[in-house]
Symmetry: C3
Subunit: 346 residues, 3 copies
């Protein structure tokens, strides 16, 4: 374990401790909300590092399985607790928000940082293009039940059924394409494991349990906090949950861009979007059947359009074969305007 990793894990522990303090000391929910969000972001990063080390032991194929299964753990816990509280709006917005945060915000930051550091970056990896196309196709599939609900009255009454069909298709596609992800995981070649098996397992277990607790505190604080802040549930999901669950986790993508490896950066960042569409989304739809409130894929119409636009814009910025910091800046600007659109609640 490097000195840097030690500091990161210590910071994560402190953040989780602070979140616990906020929760159990019943401080204002607004504070708990932001502290827990920060702790979850750090936990997402810790889980990412630990699964990487576990993957190095399991070989690159196994690494991908583990990362697919555990990478979205904090988001999964938040979604489950939110569903338990009937906060379907938050969960729907968080799913679209995760795709948006990766495909637009993190990609924009990566282009900006990469462009400032290295000048215009040219890339031509068939892998980056393939992932961006798959992401667009998956996002479009995921958006169909919402479009059907909004624009085709006969289907509107059958949103739940259509969501299950869509979730089944997405999950089937995940299973079918898993071997491809196993065969050629995005990102850098896997370095040999540096952590012992014991360190890896213990870190993973503790981070997992901590993520579950912190997600609970976060969701408990969410409703009172957003009322105080006059923020909408959609904004909380689309922006706060999505950034907590993805932004820090994807700092690796930004680092790859900074190190002038734009192909890898794009593959890593868009792969996160793809995993949300193909794995996290259908799993939550099916798991929600065990809850009182079911999750459907009938999103508010604007969310569906944002999802399509994120996929289409992601496709274009990858297919044009070049990234500049100006392109990154416009992506970030686009994200800001979308986030602003969801600020107001009913």
């Amino acid at each position: 374990m490097t000195r840097r990793e030690r500091i990161e894990l210590a910071a994560t522990a402190v953040a989780v401790g602070l979140a616990a303090l906020c929760h159990y000391a019943s401080v204002t929910p607004v504070l708990t909300f932001f502290v827990a969000a920060g702790a979850l972001a750090l936990l997402a990063h810790a889980v990412g590092t630990a699964t990487e080390q576990l993957g190095a032991r399991l070989g690159s194929g196994g690494a991908s399985v583990v990362q697919s299964a555990l990478g979205n753990l904090p988001e999964l816990f938040i979604a489950l607790f939110a569903l338990g509280d009937g906060l379907v709006n938050v969960v729907q917005a968080a799913l679209v928000g995760s795709i948006l945060a990766n495909s637009v915000l993190v990609l924009g930051v990566a282009f900006t940082v990469g462009g400032i550091r290295n000048g215009p970056q040219v890339f031509d990896s068939s892998r980056a293009r393939m992932i961006s196309t798959l992401t667009l196709l998956a996002a479009a599939t995921m958006a169909i039940p919402s479009l059907a609900h909004a624009f085709h009255s006969p289907a509107a009454a059958h949103g739940a059924t259509l969501s299950l069909v869509c979730a089944g298709v997405l999950l089937a596609l995940f299973v079918l394409t898993l071997p491809w992800f196993l065969r050629s995981p995005p990102g850098e070649e896997h370095a040999p494991a540096r952590w012992s098996v014991r360190t890896t397992t213990v870190t993973l277990a503790i981070a997992g349990v901590a993520a579950a607790f912190t997600a609970d505190w976060f969701v408990t604080a969410l409703t009172p906090a957003i009322h105080t802040l006059h923020m909408s549930e959609e904004f909380a999901g689309l922006v706060i949950v999505a950034i907590a669950g993805n932004a820090v986790e994807n700092v690796v993508g930004v680092q790859l861009a900074a190190r002038n490896r734009p192909d890898f950066a794009i593959a890593v960042i868009l792969n996160s979007s793809l995993q949300v569409a193909l794995a996290l989304t259908p799993v939550l739809v099916f798991v929600s059947l065990l809850f009182a409130t079911h999750l459907t894929l009938v999103f508010p119409t604007l969310l569906a359009f944002v999802l399509l636009l994120a996929g289409i814009l992601g496709g274009f910025v990858v297919n044009d074969g070049q990234s500049t910091w100006e392109e990154g800046a416009v992506l970030i600007g686009f994200y800001v305007v979308i986030a602003a659109s969801f600020w107001w609640g009913t």
Copy 2:
């Protein structure tokens, strides 16, 4: 005539015979519906083979004219009989469905089969890209009257006029671009004619007449069949008519992908979509003026969005320059979810 072609024509004759039997023996409409659909699919294939042979005699330019004129014959007959019965919904859905079936389903199957057989297929033909761009532009043009009707109230009252303007533009574009299609027809270089002129003409004439009759039986069975099956008119048009009219006909595109000729496969498959937008659609709009029920291009809004998405996704999968079976699988999944959205009727 090869042994295989003899078997195909015999199977087609048997299928048409069975459809006739179903129709005149007044068996349940559901059976007639599916048998006639199968017969139409085989007839579409037979017409395709015969026009290919005719084309080989006429030279490659003439071949394209003939294929443009006759290739969509079964679809044209179905649409005419359906318009005669006032089934505008079926015809509108079948037009969008034909573009969707080619640009999404058949392309997805071609990618899947080609990818499984040959691994990832790289292509870089300017012709495939040009056809995919033209298809997107034509699909977008065709979608404008629907978007205007749904989202611009002043235009909503003038849907019929706007449809005629749009159909006029599409037909003018067809006439203008015809020389391009004549000059460089998609698909493989034309082999010398194997059939005699007589065999070709007789086959074409018989298949044409049989297509007209079978289309009549199919449309007669359609309304009672979809009531029995609780299927919507849109689903019947979008999925059943579109697959019967395009899927078997485009088996050649799938075969090209299987033979590791992805550029040709894409050009052939997307060319079918383009012909539907530029030729079949405006011709039906104008011909429908002779009927009691006029065909407009004011589609249900979801159909218009599906049309746009089919064009955009088709553009991306071609422009990314690579096809894998995973990409094919996601295309098929996308098609399944769209088909499911149209299952329910009012």
Copy 3:
């Protein structure tokens, strides 16, 4: 000053004189409307030529600043007078129409002329691709407030606020990306200045003043003219204002395509779209705060979709790396159908 430039300036002076005559002699507004539109188109061209000469004196960086600031002068005057008369619909349509006229109509004409003269034109300039991607991203950002208003009820009540946020983001992006435009202006290498400083300054000053007057006459005639012609305000803005303000100005893009320089042609033409989105639009939003009627970015929904489609189609025709006159013809056809959709007013 070349003989051709003299003739152009003389024609511009005659056109402005005729427009003045129409205005002060109180001829029918329809005549004034079209004569003033023609005069504005010629003035846009004259301003373009004069700023080019000024730029040649200031160096290529300065040239771009001047062109950015003055290039849209006639459009700016029209928009200001129209806002003064409360014609927000006209201004909104003119903004989207300028992007559409450049990205679809002028690009289509350039492809058609270039293709007929030179056959299929292949291009692969990273600059053309980058500009088309930036234009799409800016157009998508600009469309968000309208989508939010139409499809997200909580945001509908806050359209004005969201417009200001969006305009602020667009203006910030303009300021941030200005150095990029200064560093590498689109178009041909700047030839040495041919006009004297005095000729340049005087021409620019006179053309600017004339543009302000002519814009006033044009807007005065607009309302009675469109009533007589049964044309909508949106059509007047989307088509007439946009073509007067962009088409002649962009004759240089068409000339570049004719001279077989498709990369430069695309960069010049799409750069105009980009400047409208990043500079003209936010400036008008902020300046309109000084008027009784404020300009918002809450466009009629169809305008927002048209804006997105113009960006997406522009992205595809550039990314496919080839232009033919057939592609140009379909772009023009697409423009015609959109223009027809806006013919009718309420």
